[in-house]
């Protein structure tokens, strides 16, 4: 099985030779953050937008992906004339700490000259660690204050954390399809994925890289489970219904040991195409980071305290059919922001596409995002 693509591609990176102290108390001796930028930073360095990617996303927001060869994951949103207009804004996106697309993670060498990767010795990462790494990158790029931080799902958690940790550095924040904490249901689904990886004998207690293998079955199953949570019953029904795949299926019941329904082959495809671009230990690290996330807990279970006195302009966006990060969880954030007397817009976009809607063609969502940013640009005095 070919998985060498992960390490072959030369990603654009910033090296922080002094490393970073993590929330867990472990110091990373050196840290690399892979990133991409689009557009031009203006003379005042005031037009930068940081995009935070979701669990299995990466820094290739708006260009051909060097590993998969597919278009950027937010091609519809980021680009010239698009809602996040690269003619107007300087857009930055970095691979999260713990990721596997060039930033320091379980796949990275443990020390500068070593070939031995961190593997399962990689320390636990939190959303805050990801945000602090991004802050280092932003400073390296010479930017004190971001015009906006935008992200969906796990990216939305980073947005919330940015606004909470560095309120003076965030003029506008757009947390999309996200939540201030991971619910028991979110953790439960992640745990099924993790157990699928552990159960794969190719996982080899996390040392699969030693003999160039990958726990492809386990990782694929993890992806399949997760993928279901990104959709909605309506979307699945519309796409696949109960349609069967093989022409002879109509003759009777086919073997339970082969795939039969279209939805099955779709999920299998999703699973198998994932394993060549994602590292299993990275998946474990990042899902854990999501599960740890609970912004209120850091502030005495008072979420509004996380945003006390916030000067940031917020726009919360949820999707009506998203059951992974339902609108009710965005409303919790909206109310906490109200309690902190923050400036908040809050929209639920009507969509039957489930959690994935934030990655898909949703004109109301795109109009909302573009309009909010344009309004903020006016308030920020951006020409």
């Amino acid at each position: 099985m070919n998985h060498s693509a992960l390490s072959v591609v030369d990603h654009q990176r910033a090296l922080f030779a002094d490393g970073m102290m993590l929330e867990c108390g472990v110091a990373l001796p050196r840290m690399e953050i892979a990133y991409r930028t689009y557009g031009t930073l203006n003379a005042d360095r005031a037009n930068a937008i940081l995009i935070c990617h979701a669990l299995t996303g990466d820094q290739y927001v708006a260009e051909r992906h060097p590993v998969t060869g597919r278009g950027g994951w937010w091609d519809m949103v980021v680009g010239p004339g698009l809602p996040i207009d690269t003619n107007r804004y300087f857009v930055i996106c970095s691979n999260v700490l713990g990721g596997c697309m060039g930033s320091t993670g379980p796949r990275s060498p443990r020390d500068a000259d070593g070939v031995q990767p961190w593997g399962t010795d990689f320390p636990p990462i939190t959303i805050r660690d990801m945000v602090r790494a991004q802050k280092r990158l932003i400073e390296r790029l010479g930017i004190d204050r971001l015009f906006a931080v935008v992200g969906g799902s796990m990216g939305g958690m980073q947005v919330l954390d940015w606004a909470s940790a560095y309120p003076e550095s965030v003029f506008a924040a757009v947390p999309i399809a996200t939540a201030p904490y991971h619910s028991a249901q979110n953790i439960a689904f992640n745990e099924v994925g993790r157990q699928a990886i552990f159960a794969d004998q190719d996982y080899k207690a996390g040392r699969y890289w030693e003999d160039d293998s990958i726990p492809a079955r386990g990782l694929a199953v993890a992806r399949m489970v997760a993928h279901i949570t990104y959709l909605s019953e309506e979307a699945l029904t519309r796409k696949f219904g109960r349609r069967q795949r093989s022409t002879d299926a109509a003759a009777g019941i086919s073997s339970p040991f082969s795939d039969m329904f279209e939805v099955e082959s779709y999920l299998r495809y999703q699973g198998s195409s994932f394993v060549n671009r994602f590292d299993a230990n990275s998946y474990l690290t990042i899902t854990r980071a999501c599960d740890y996330f609970d912004l209120a807990a850091e502030h005495g279970d008072n979420l509004s305290a996380a945003f006390a006195g916030s000067p940031t302009r917020f726009c919360l966006i949820s999707f009506s059919s998203d059951w992974l990060y339902p609108t009710a969880e965005s409303r919790v954030v909206a109310r906490a922001l109200n309690a902190a007397a923050a400036n908040v817009s809050f929209v639920e976009i009507a969509s039957d596409k489930g959690h994935d809607a934030f990655l898909l063609d949703e004109p109301d969502f795109h109009r909302t995002l573009a309009g909010f940013l344009a309004g903020c640009a006016e308030h920020a005095g951006l020409a």
Binding site: R313, V347, T368
Partner: protein, 215 residues
């Protein structure tokens, strides 16, 4: 507190704004912090920001209106007057506006309390159920009135708590609110000359507008 409609001669009146919104806009001084409950597409907050430099925000229950407003760069959140005021801190706003919505909320008295808790002043407009046409229709036909303001049949109307100008004065008295300003307007949108006389205003005013504060 300066009255924006009096004095300096610079009085902006947006041409296309609903009458009651124009009148409300005139009540709100520049640079104040305003919450507009039931803000619709955000016309008033946009106006207050652009012409008065107010920090104006909105709450609207109808998602299509919210989307429209946010897509036009306005700070509007989806929410409900009955349930989404309680979390705001005391005194967060200078003015809290409720235009043509009081009659449609579940608990008008509680909504007013919340408005005057989170804001120093409350501005409330509502259609007057004491308007002569409404009284006449009920008297003459014996059926629930239908007018341009009360345009839907009784079983479909969202206006579950209609009141008259006199009723509203009574409520303000009971709650200990000071009526800082009030006026009634007729169909043509003129400020009625009978504004000094509650009885006449209650008969000839189609809409009422109040500015309140706590005693």
């Amino acid at each position: 507190m300066p009255d924006a409609s009096d004095g300096n001669g610079v009085r902006y009146v947006a041409k296309n704004m609903r009458l009651d919104l124009r009148l409300i806009a005139e009540m709100i001084p520049a640079k104040t912090k305003v919450l507009d409950i039931g803000c619709g597409d955000g016309t008033l907050i946009d106006h207050l920001f652009r012409t008065r430099g107010c920090d104006a925000r909105g709450i609207e229950i109808d998602m299509a209106e919210v989307t429209h407003a946010v897509a036009h760069g306005l700070p509007v959140m989806q929410g409900d007057a009955d349930s989404d005021l309680a979390q705001y801190p005391d005194g967060a706003f200078d003015f809290v506006v409720l235009s043509r919505t009081l009659q449609a909320v579940e608990r008008p008295r509680e909504v007013l309390r919340q408005m005057l808790r989170i804001g120093r002043h409350a501005v409330v407009s509502f259609p007057n159920f004491g308007f002569w046409q409404v009284r006449w229709q009920l008297l003459w036909s014996g059926r629930m009135p239908m007018t341009s303001v009360w345009a839907r049949p009784w079983h479909e109307t969202p206006n579950i708590h209609p009141c008259t100008i006199r009723d509203f004065f009574v409520l303000c008295h009971e709650e200990g609110y000071v009526v800082e300003k009030w006026l009634a307007v007729d169909e043509a949108g003129q400020r009625a000359p009978w504004r000094r006389f509650i009885g006449l205003a209650n008969l000839f005013g189609e809409q009422a507008l109040f500015q309140l504060r706590k005693a």
